[in-house]
């Protein structure tokens, strides 16, 4: 009797396994190499410009004549459209490119994304990527998105303006060691009189990057940007120090407030020669080369050489309801994560690859950034439950800081109090 049960069980097991395997096999053979498919890729507008998405799609179609690729631009950088449309079952995108961790985490929380777990194999296991930005997408056992480009925060400067102001030489521009140094740099490079200067020494980004700069600066000053559970450490004493720097440099007229209505004012100013130093993603220096040539340089933020940088990624993700997941995987493997694709974005616009092997062969512009990124103390982006609200609070406080009498310490306290009312646990 026991034998019979055992045999039945074994048979059942074999049977179910074969069904399972068969089912899986069928899925593989059904997909993108043979069946006629249409894959709709949607990317944020700037990605279409800074990466050869359209050309890759064309190439992918040539390689796989059975597949039709459709590329469109997502006109909504806040991803609201995805959140609202996809949760109503209104899915007509198969692959979305672009979105920060905190935004994509919301989509994942709402259970709108297909996990990428089975993507990470062969040449594309997780350790081939910059691990932090991949781990950031983990929710339960699932990895809900795939980073396809990475950025690191640092200072980008106009060497010509610095040398003119006596800050180092062309071959060896001076590096700020402390926030006071940076203030002095800003003061020396500022030109013009009156409430609006002709050239500003420094530009803090009061929108879009205001949070990332803050956490990077706290980390670089030797502070603890995050608590051990991954939530932000809004009580770090360094926050007040950073705030005090922002307030001083802006209120004294050496830092511009232009980024409040124009988040790109810093990088546009760097290109136009009206801003000497900005604190944003390192890619801005490469981007500015089109206007400044070799005078667009990278500088470490005070303490960055010791304490590392701050890295964040832009993600690709697949909405639930798509029927061509495997073709999307193919497109990612063959095109988006290819060397050529990465190289295009890197050399022209400074966007760093997320796949470590794609760093090979890039120009020497990136060696320093790579060093900062490799520093074990480097912190990364975040995905907290009410992260986007916190970001807005940080921007608002920073803007208030430079337009009212509030002191740096008061602002830091106010921010800590506001943050304490938010749910800032890591999205799990």
């Amino acid at each position: 009797m026991k034998k019979l049960v055992f045999i039945t069980l074994a048979l059942l097991l074999v049977f179910s396994f074969s069904v399972f395997a068969g089912g899986k096999q069928e899925k593989v053979s059904k997909d993108w190499t043979k069946a006629k498919l249409t894959v709709h890729v949607e990317a944020m507008g700037w990605i279409l410009k800074k990466f050869p998405v359209e050309a890759s799609a064309k190439k992918f179609m040539e390689d796989h004549p059975n597949i039709t690729m459709k590329v469109s631009a997502n006109a909504d950088n806040s991803l609201n459209n995805y959140m609202l449309n996809w949760s109503a079952g209104n899915v007509d995108v198969d692959l979305a490119l672009g979105g920060a961790a905190v935004q994509v985490a919301k989509l994942a929380f709402k259970n709108l994304l297909v996990p990428w777990n089975d993507f990470y194999k062969g040449d594309f296991t997780r350790d081939h990527f910059l691990t932090h930005v991949v781990e950031l997408t983990k929710r339960g056992d699932n990895y809900y998105a795939l980073p396809f480009m990475v950025e690191a925060m640092s200072l980008e400067a106009n060497r010509k303006l610095m040398v003119e102001a006596g800050l180092g030489t062309v071959s060896n521009p001076a590096k700020p060691k402390t926030l006071d140094d940076l203030y002095m740099f800003a003061k020396k490079t500022t030109k013009g009189s009156g409430p609006v200067k002709d050239v500003y020494g420094f530009s803090w980004n009061f929108t879009n990057f205001g949070d990332q700069q803050l956490f990077c600066a706290v980390n670089d000053l030797g502070g603890k940007a995050y608590n051990d559970d991954g939530s932000p450490n809004m009580k770090a004493p360094e926050i007040a120090k950073v705030f005090s720097f922002i307030k001083r440099v802006t209120m004294d007229g050496y830092g511009t407030k232009g980024t409040i209505t124009d988040t790109n004012a810093g990088r546009s100013g760097l290109k136009a020669g009206t801003v000497a130093i900005i604190f944003e993603a390192a890619s801005r220096a490469i981007e500015a080369k089109s206007a400044l040539g070799n005078d667009a340089i990278l500088l470490p933020f005070p303490g960055e050489e010791q304490n590392g940088s701050y890295i964040y990624a832009h993600y690709s993700y697949i909405p639930k309801g798509t029927k061509v997941k495997d073709a999307v995987y193919g497109f990612m493997r063959e095109q988006v994560l290819s060397k050529d694709f990465s190289k295009f974005g890197a050399e022209k616009y400074g966007k760093l690859p997320s796949l470590k092997r794609n760093f090979e062969g890039l120009s020497s512009d990136f060696t320093e950034v790579q060093k900062w990124m490799a520093n074990p103390k480097t912190v990364g982006d975040h995905a907290w439950v009410e992260g986007s609200k916190l970001n807005s609070y940080i921007w608002e406080i920073e803007q208030e800081l430079v337009s009212s009498n509030i002191t740096a310490q008061q602002a830091a306290d106010k921010l800590a109090k506001q943050a304490s009312q938010l749910n800032l646990a890591v999205v799990k």
Partner: protein, 280 residues
């Protein structure tokens, strides 16, 4: 005495003229910017009149931005014209009924429509968005036409109501006695007589829909589906810097149609407004 008056008039005219010039600065500035080279746009001091005219930005709009620009333009034209037609036809029917027929519930409807005028539109947006996603008509022209038609119905309705009220009753009565149906009276007698009010209502609706912001912002998220008034905001997102030249060119190009329409119908517009709006 008379001479002093004339001098006064002259100075007042001159003063008005100066103010008008100041008033026109934003428009001239935009037109001039669209005709400057990129280098000149960002050059300080800013040149008031362009040194060397160039059509490079217009060319850019019609080549690189062509697909965006034409889809914005097409959507604006389709959405606006269909909404205007719907509002004028449905609205004039309704206002005829309200103005010329005594029926049960009439006062309720008048109250109801004036109530709608007074609520802030944003409280209708959330459910309309949910409704549209359920029926999958976000990012389509219909998805904009439906809310526009509802939202911009009340004011033209009141304008036409005012115009219909003014038309003397004799015409209607004699037609009724002749055995005309109400619809015939509406079509054959009232519509031609109320042409001024209709045009005024049409222009107001046109301008409202052409420049509509809130619904277009929320209900269209794809470039191919959005209208000019929202599309202009999307241009710079691709460039990651204010694309001043192309944006100015688009502004100039997209104002040509409403401006021409306004110039053609200007007389009716002012007349119609005077007849209708004060009654609302």
């Amino acid at each position: 005495m008379v001479r002093r008056n004339k001098i006064n008039t002259f100075f007042l005219g001159f003063f008005i003229f100066l103010i008008l010039i100041l008033f026109m600065v934003p428009i001239f500035q935009t037109i001039f910017t669209s005709l400057k080279t990129d280098k000149e746009i960002y050059k300080v001091p800013v040149s008031i009149i362009p040194h060397n005219l160039t059509f490079i930005h217009y060319k850019y709009v019609f080549t690189n931005l062509a697909s965006d620009f034409f889809s914005f333009f097409r959507n604006s034209v389709v959405v606006t014209s269909v909404s205007v037609l719907l509002i004028l036809s449905l609205g004039s029917l309704a206002s005829f009924g309200l103005a010329r027929i005594n029926f049960f519930g009439k006062n309720f409807i008048i109250f109801f429509v004036s109530f709608i005028v007074s609520i802030p539109l944003i409280i209708t947006v959330i459910p309309i968005f949910m409704f549209e996603t359920t029926f999958r008509i976000t990012n389509t022209n219909i998805g904009l036409i439906l809310p526009y038609t509802a939202v911009y119905m009340p004011i033209p309705l009141f304008i036409m109501y005012g115009t219909f009220l003014k038309i003397p009753t004799e015409l209607e009565e004699s037609a009724l006695i002749d055995g005309c149906s109400r619809f015939m009276i509406y079509r054959k007698i009232f519509l031609p007589l109320a042409a001024g009010g209709l045009v005024a209502a049409g222009i107001i609706t046109f301008l409202n829909c052409w420049g509509e912001f809130l619904f277009a912002l929320i209900l269209t998220t794809r470039r191919s589906a959005t209208t000019l008034s929202i599309g202009i905001m999307k241009i710079n997102q691709q460039e990651q810097a204010w694309a001043l030249g192309p944006m100015s060119a688009i502004m100039v190009l997209s104002t040509i149609i409403p401006f021409t329409l306004y110039m053609i119908f200007q007389r009716y517009f002012i007349q119609g407004l005077m007849e209708g709006s004060l009654k609302g």
